[in-house]
Amino acid sequence: MSESPLLRIEGLTKHFPARRSFLTRRQSWVRALEDVSIDIYEQETLGVVGESGCGKTTLGRTIMRLVEPTRGKVLFEGTDIAALDGGELRRYRQNMQMVFQNPYSSFDPRFSVLNSVAEPLRTHTSLRGDALVDRCRELLEQVRMGGEILYRYPHEFSGGQLQRIAVARALALNPKFIVLDEPTSALDVSVQAQIINLLEELQEELRLTYLFITHDLTVVQHISHRVAVMYLGQVVELGDTETIFYEARHPYTEALLSAAPSLDPKFRRERIVLEGSVPDPIDPPPGCSFHPRCPAASDRCAKSEPVLVDVGEGHWVACHRCQG
């Protein structure tokens, strides 16, 4: 792992406009991302876990600038992508690609496989004709699919096969960084295993860096080098996979890990069943956003917001219990 990060996210914040009161004309905001800062290093897989509504998908989309950030910086090799536009942004986008959860909705049903995989190449390169077809065939071989499928259409494939084609399309421009947003969640376990293996092999071969977004803890533990745990738009804990899974310090991480059903009795934890559900991100609780559900909450947690601090060896926790 190199010293300077490939991607540095600084204070990234995204507020979506929500209901506006008719009488008072007051605008309220969904706080999807609140001051998120993470470094992602070359050739690592950073797993992002959290429950629905925690902002993990918004994080991926804001990094790609599919949604505009409200505040904050996304530095790719030192350049702030959040401040680029037009041609400069397009050039940087070649380095960053994304694979989505539902492979069926990420392809145009009227485009052949060739058309879909060739689209980024037509947009960004001067490849045309036979050279373009050859490059597409090469990309499909990279994801262990034969060139004979070039002229077939999305409905002819299973979910797992389509996800391979989506990966091939993401690789077309030789990106350095890929955001994988729940890439295996729509797939059956036997197929999920094939895709995970493929992603790991490709990372090795092409020296790729991944941001792997998922709600599935077993998958994230398998594939990630480091893991960020999110709750209500904030990163509450960040560290090496081993650290997060075996030495978690944040009460939310502990509860989340204990809630996941485990097959292996050796790894089964004593279950911490959290009361209630995730609060409304329009009106998050004051202080630590987890305090209303936290088994270890004290008076201080309702008043002041804990910040993410380094508790040693790159292990970051946002909890008053871990701070002086």
Binding site: A193, A255, L256, A259, P261, L263, R271
Partner: protein
């Protein structure tokens, strides 16, 4: 736990007539659920597990039809019952809840209205008594502030609360069997843990049986007493959960478990099963798993293997690898 079967499904066949051809969704499904147990029916998408659940209540959606088989509930064959008798059983003695609780609740009626209607359909009570019964069940499933919940509309509740409401409604008429079709799949893990804890408690306090249909082996490992693994419409392995999950015999169950990322095999590639799940129109001959099976033999493509005992306590697998005479 009493070991007499409350529900037994024998050699069930269900097919759907479609433009593309006849889809054989369920092909000889056989299993039994005992009184007071949580029985898991697991498999990947398209293995016929949900259609089996619908068949028990004779609610197979059009154009599906039950071709043959036997579904015995408390000694009576449900497939021979009249439609009126089935209406009494459905939601009465056997209740069902689904993956998406929002889709099961009517958005324009209050929760109380819907809960009372279910109770008054099945029990001879007036409005006040129905309200009391609903409140008791809401409290029982751990809904906070049940009086207020009665007044709310579905969109005001979270997914986990809606699933609790559905469970309460399902059990408010004194059901003996609850069919839960992927009840936690749409929920977050911390909420899933709450619902599974609720199932365990209800089983103990109310002695109900639960048929838990799921694709998640982790959920099975933590809640079910016994489990059946389904593939392409039939059971390939069945037995006590600890036997099926930790002493697996059938090559498909072995493959399925090996494909799961476990903490112990971090850093190694996952084992995956080659190929894809067959669709119900083009089912392979003989054993439906043979085209993907690493141990395939000549006999496998000719004749379908029956379930044979492979261990103690009713552990059975449908595979020619285990002690039976080769017939082909």
């Amino acid at each position: 736990m009493v070991s007499k079967a409350l529900l037994s499904v024998e050699d069930l066949h269900v097919r759907f007539q479609t433009y593309a051809g006849v889809v054989r969704a369920v092909n000889g499904m056989t299993f039994g659920v005992r009184r007071g147990e949580i029985f898991g029916l697991v498999g990947e998408s398209g293995c016929g597990k949900s259609v089996t659940g619908f068949s028990i209540l004779r609610m197979v959606p059009h154009p599906g039809e039950i071709v043959r088989g036997r579904i015995e509930f408390d000694g009576e064959n449900l497939l021979e019952k009249s439609r009126a008798a089935m209406r009494k059983i459905r939601g009465g003695r056997i209740a069902m809840i689904f993956q998406d609780p929002s889709a099961s609740l009517n958005p324009v009626f209050s929760i109380g209205n819907q809960a009372k209607r279910v109770i008054r359909h099945h029990l001879d009570v007036d409005d006040t008594e129905a309200r009391e019964a609903a409140l008791r069940m809401f409290e029982n499933v751990g809904l906070p502030d049940p009086v207020r919940v009665l007044e709310t509309y579905p969109h005001e509740l979270s997914g986990g609360m809606k699933q609790r409401v559905m469970t309460a409604m399902a059990l408010s008429t004194g059901a003996e069997l609850l069919i839960a079709d992927e009840p936690t799949t749409a929920l977050d893990v911390t909420i899933q843990a709450q619902i599974l804890a609720l199932f365990n408690r209800l089983r103990e306090e109310m002695a109900i049986s639960i048929l838990l249909i799921t694709h998640d082996l982790g959920v099975v490992a933590e809640t079910c007493d016994r489990v059946a693994v389904a593939y392409a419409g039939s059971v390939v392995e069945m037995g006590r959960t600890e036997d099926v999950l930790y002493k697996l015999k059938h090559p498909y169950s072995q493959g399925l478990l090996a494909a799961l990322p476990l903490p112990a095999d971090r850093g190694q590639p996952l084992a995956s099963i080659a190929g894809n799940v067959p669709d119900g129109i083009h089912l392979p001959s003989g054993c439906p798993f043979h085209p993907r099976c690493p141990y395939v033999m000549d006999v496998c493509s000719v004749e379908r293997p029956p379930l044979v005992p492979v261990g103690g306590e009713g552990h059975a697998a449908a595979c020619y690898l285990y002690g039976q005479e080769r017939e082909a």
